[in-house]
Assembly symmetry: C2
Homo-oligomer: 418 residues x 2
């Protein structure tokens, strides 16, 4: 069977099963999620062994540190995946929720009701935990799903998907509703992108170039996970101890992910006090610093940040630093270079906090908190399908609600259009 | 200046103005809408004269009845446009609405807030009222807009847009936020479709073939207004008097629009009683009937409905009729041929009403009411930008709320990612 026939067949099978998924009871969905969590824990050894094979392969292929970080599973990360499934089981079922209901003067009653989207395709690269999060969220939201993970995680994903399928069989959920494409070439992805009669939504997760290809070629609706070029702005008279902790957390806690800070902006009045302290702290953590001329004057010996640095998502222990005149310059820099994912200000000023919240055009805007908190679990939404930088449908962490659509149901008694 | 440079320049200008639009007070926006309504009424003669020139041109070009209907303005329709603007002014401003706000265990407070989308492009064909509805809705929702109307309505649109611009000048709203492309060729549309760095949303309104072209070529996010292939199903033991009124209304009241009925499905037990009554009523209204073999047996002399008829949006006084065995057959027919816009059942049975509401996958699902009521104004949402058949972002009538997106605003006190 050629790749096109295979992908279409899988999509058609999953789409057909999506009708059953939409009618599953909350109870059955939750039981399945709990079975899945248990399965992952019981088979943790198997998963880690498979992951070790993937990692060896990737290291031999010369993958970057950020890439290896995303690919790596540990006992802790498997626990997180299982905990994520349990958290999704504990969340309210979004399907069937009546968002509003009202009566019109002619007597008809209109309800706006949440329903599943149908068939969701997810294309991602290294992270094997995406497999688990995706299946869990799609199941709970009543959607069928077709997954295409990166070839680098193929061993890990293969073991994980077997565990998930077994859990579905146990609770009587049609396993055809979850389809995996394990063909290693890109052709399978390209075909998925144009199946607009079958796929209701495609979520691409990956690097900038990959997303650009998807935007160019897709005829199916997409929810973008663009790059995360996040800034922290340290305002005039900001609480500098807090600023130091937030900047260090945003840069160092997990540099390989999209909500890590890439550029620090600091008000000119605080630069002389703040930047040496920051440099000391970040260098201890192994961070390479690059700065604008004013930064270089304060931190002798650091490399100069070029125009390209302001536009680069390092995903690594590198930070670009710029001294700005005021909030306006910070806002302009963010408007020009920000990716619309997460932006933060550290300030003690009420009016400037308000301006930052109102004027920054991003999915998540923070006052006095780390950009790393832009995350479905941290927001209390349970596991997420990443963070959307699309403006349509869902912006910010994509949780259960974002995986549903709505329909209007109208109860009449013979109403006509006048 | 060539077309590409011109379209890009207009998009860039509108995008720059979108920041001002997002910050307009509700008061200024409402005053502008009322000024616009007054302007349309005061200049009604001018509009009708321009419209007459468009109609003459279109008639000479041999346009269809449905097309001419959509192009035609009357005093009544101008009144409707003005009333629509006033209704939008009376609606709550969606911008700034806090949809939810909650506190996390770590003390940070998260709010989900409505914000404008940014720059919206609308590409449409004949209807000049779309110009007014679009500008009104985009203004109230704080979005800049770039419009590309059909060349057939160019005279009407030109007069209308001058009136709207004058109203904006009077209230100090930057008129650059509303841009019109009056280039008659398709090239301008094709360029708009790929300006994904400037255009945040494109709404295409037009025929099936046009929408298909847009889906294929667009790299900007789109909200589809696909065809409207709507069904009315007359159930076993349905109240037949009501069914007759609903069917006549859904077919005849304005056949040239997307929420008119195209196919009637009738339960086999009611066909012999219902179809002769329906045929009499619809023939008096000038409707041509086409039927399945069982329909033909009951209505001698009518043309046979072929497979193509079930898939055709006539937008005209033509109706396809099919006798079905039961609700299951009706649901299967709708699942296969429906366009997901509006579907109706006429029934007296509680359980079957419920099944229809749950199982039909469409933006608007009606029990005992006409599909013609699938409409923003009829739903109480004010003027609409048509009816979305997309599943993402907005489904059904697209009103003010659907023209906004959200952002998460986070109020912290030093929170970090653990």
């Amino acid at each position: 069977m050629d790749v096109r026939a295979l992908v279409e067949e899988k999509a058609r099978t999953a789409k057909a099963a999506s009708r059953n998924l939409a009618l599953l009871s909350t109870k059955v969905k939750n039981e399945t999620l709990l079975q899945m969590a248990r399965g992952l824990e019981e088979k943790a050894r198997l998963i880690l062994e498979a992951n070790r094979r993937d990692l060896e392969q990737a290291r031999a292929g010369g993958s970057s540190r950020a890439f290896l970080d995303r690919l790596t599973l540990t006992d802790g990360r498997i626990e997180e995946m299982a905990a994520g499934l349990r958290q999704v089981a504990a969340l309210a079922d979004p399907v069937g929720e009546v968002l509003r209901m009202w009566r019109r003067p002619n007597g008809m009653e209109i309800g706006k009701v949440r329903v599943p989207i149908g068939l969701i395709a997810v294309v991602y690269e290294a992270r094997p935990n995406v497999t688990v999060d995706t299946v869990g969220l799609c199941l709970k939201s009543g959607n069928a799903v077709i997954l295409r993970g990166g070839s680098e995680a193929i061993e890990s994903n293969s073991v994980i998907t077997q565990i998930l399928a077994k859990a579905m069989e146990k609770t009587g959920v049609p396993p055809e509703a979850v389809q995996f494409i394990d063909s290693p070439d890109r052709e399978g992805v390209r075909i998925l992108l144009t199946l607009d009669r079958l796929v209701d939504l495609l979520i691409p997760r990956g690097g900038e170039e990959f997303i650009r290809m998807v935007v160019q070629e897709a005829t199916v609706p997409i929810l973008k996970h663009d790059k995360g070029l996040c800034h922290v702005y340290v305002d005039q008279r900001a609480p500098l101890d807090m600023a130091l902790e937030i900047a260090a957390n945003a840069k160092v806690q997990r540099p390989g992910v999209c909500n890590a800070m890439e550029t620090l902006l600091v008000h000119q009045d605080e630069a002389a006090t703040f930047l040496p302290r920051l440099a000391k702290r970040l260098r201890e953590a192994g961070v390479e610093l690059r700065g604008c001329p004013r930064t270089q004057a304060l931190l002798p010996g650091i490399a100069s940040a070029t125009e390209a640095d302001w536009a680069t998502e390092y995903l690594d222990l590198i930070l670009a630093i710029k001294v700005v005149d005021d909030l306006d310059e910070a806002l302009a820099h963010i408007a020009r270079h920000g990716s619309g994912l997460a932006e933060a200000i550290v300030t003690s000023d009420y009016a400037r906090a308000r301006r930052f919240l109102q004027e920054v055009d991003a999915g998540c805007v923070f006052v006095n908190a780390s950009t790393r908190l832009a995350d479905g679990r941290e927001f209390g939404m349970g596991a997420e399908m990443g963070i959307s930088t699309s403006k349509l449908h869902a912006r910010g962490p994509v949780g259960l609600e974002e995986l549903t659509t709505t329909k209007f149901v109208v109860y009449g008694s013979g109403q006509l259009r006048e």
